[in-house]
């Protein structure tokens, strides 16, 4: 691999990574020695400093990641306060509901109930402290299991999670009844 390609590949991977990437993993991806990876990363970090970029390449928790430059913190704060919509998205509400009622629950279980991959939403909820890892599935694979946190209870104004409205008395909504009726109506 030519040198420029190595550098570009590392930049690309770090750009899409959601958590710090260990040099060993980068080395494996690029079929390079870990020492060489560290060297390239150091060079990259230096070049961003030289160019006075608004981001930096930092070594965090044993890996590398892109992050905003500390000098830019005031802008990030304004972005967070003014830019983000403060409402919980429908996807997040659904995911939170599944975790609250079905806990402890794995990512795969959440995805199968929602019908879509929900990893990103779960991560956001974890970051916000509403949901947390509560253990591992004893079965093969040992999937991480998620549950709700005391912070969530506090925000919902509940004392215990058992105070959530019971699911037992489930009645299909009007749209389901409509659909069923429609389906049963003889044609013609």
């Amino acid at each position: 691999m030519v040198e420029i390609e190595e550098r570009r590949a590392i930049e690309a991977v770090l750009m899409v990574a959601e958590t710090p990437v260990e040099p060993n993993l980068l080395a494996q991806l690029l079929e390079l020695a870990p020492a060489r990876v560290s060297q390239i990363c150091d060079e990259l970090a230096q070049s961003y400093r030289d160019e006075q970029r608004g981001f930096e390449l930092a070594r965090v928790a044993g890996g590398y990641r892109f992050q905003s430059h500390p000098d830019m913190a005031p802008y990030i704060e304004r972005f967070v306060l003014e830019g983000q919509s403060a409402r919980l998205s429908a996807a997040a509400l659904e995911t939170l509901a599944i975790v609250a009622y079905k806990q402890p629950v794995s990512r795969a279980q959440v995805a199968s109930i929602r019908g879509v991959n929900s990893d990103g939403v779960l991560r956001t909820l974890c970051q916000r402290g509403y949901v947390a890892e509560v253990g591992h599935d004893p079965g093969p694979g040992q999937a991480v299991l998620y549950g709700t946190t005391p912070l969530l209870l506090e925000r919902l104004g509940l004392d215990r999670i058992e105070e959530l409205p019971p699911l037992g008395d489930f009645v299909p909504g009007p749209e389901v009844m409509d659909a069923l009726e429609e389906g049963l109506r003889p044609s013609g």
């Binding site: 913190a73 403060a86 409205p165």
Partner: protein, 270 residues
């Protein structure tokens, strides 16, 4: 990743027509339905799982083709009246317009696929905020209640409405009990003693068989035939007893039916 539905021909009902008519230059009126079915079964066997959506769409397609073909066969005569021809042309124009529209969007969807494939080469950054800033973000749960969570889950767990095959375009089978009665009265005296199975051997539609059964019951009620069955679900034997006190000769509709109105089988449907 499940299976790859590698049967674009059968993806939509109009697609099939389109494919056969344009690419293979097949005259729809000379289409062999059985060969399409054979092709379809072969393609289903290649799938690792039966895609119900695809299967349903295929059945619908087959039904449309069958109906078009049937009409073609039935209207083969030279004494077609003008109105009927006109209606057929109108139907054709409608179908043509739909095929063109369908093909337009199908091609548009292919271009969207190419865009998606190209876009997929770049992956967006979604790492999000670094830890110190997360705490700054406004409380997402503002205004969210336990009832909201309950509602969200109930909606998720609600049984999904099942798609229904629209069969309105398929012409109903126009078999009537009155007609069948007439046919049986003409046929049974010569047969003397027979079985229900033999009587209905030439019939394909379950509805037609049901109509035969209803007609036989009517004759039994009037004492014109005797029915016998050796065992439960066994062979049903039919014996002709004679016209009895009713005259079945040329006048099939009688006291058992509404005067002049031969009941359509539709009335016997659940």
């Amino acid at each position: 990743m499940g299976y790859q539905v590698s049967t674009p021909v059968f993806e939509g009902p109009l697609d099939l027509l389109l494919h056969l008519v344009t690419r293979e230059q097949v005259d729809i009126w000379e289409l062999s339905l059985s060969s399409i079915v054979d092709q379809y079964i072969a393609s289903i066997e290649q799938m690792q799982a039966l895609d119900l959506a695809v299967a349903t769409e295929f059945l619908l397609t087959a039904a449309v083709l069958l109906e078009l073909k049937t009409r073609r066969l039935l209207s083969d005569g030279s004494e077609e009246d003008d109105e009927e021809t006109l209606a057929l042309w109108e139907e054709r124009d409608l179908l043509l317009a739909r095929l063109l529209e369908c093909k337009t969007f199908k091609d548009a969807s292919l271009s969207m696929t190419r865009l998606m494939d190209a876009a997929q080469l770049s992956v967006p950054r979604r790492a999000g905020l670094e830890e110190p800033f997360i705490k700054l973000a406004p409380d997402l749960l503002e205004g969210v209640t336990a009832d909201d969570l309950h509602r969200a889950l109930v909606k998720l767990l609600a049984p999904k409405p099942v798609a229904r095959v629209n069969t309105e375009h398929i012409a109903p089978v126009r078999a009537s009990v009155a007609d069948t009665l007439e046919e049986l009265v003409a046929r049974l005296p010569a047969e003397g003693r027979t079985t229900f199975r033999r009587l209905t051997a030439g019939l394909r539609e379950p509805l037609e068989v049901i109509v035969y059964f209803l007609a036989l019951l009517e004759l039994y009620k009037r004492g014109a035939v005797d029915l016998g069955q050796a065992a439960k679900l066994g062979e049903l034997h039919v014996s002709w007893l004679g016209a009895g006190d009713d005259d079945f000769g040329r006048q099939p509709t009688s006291a058992g039916f509404e005067a002049g109105e031969a009941p359509m089988v539709d009335q016997y449907e659940g």
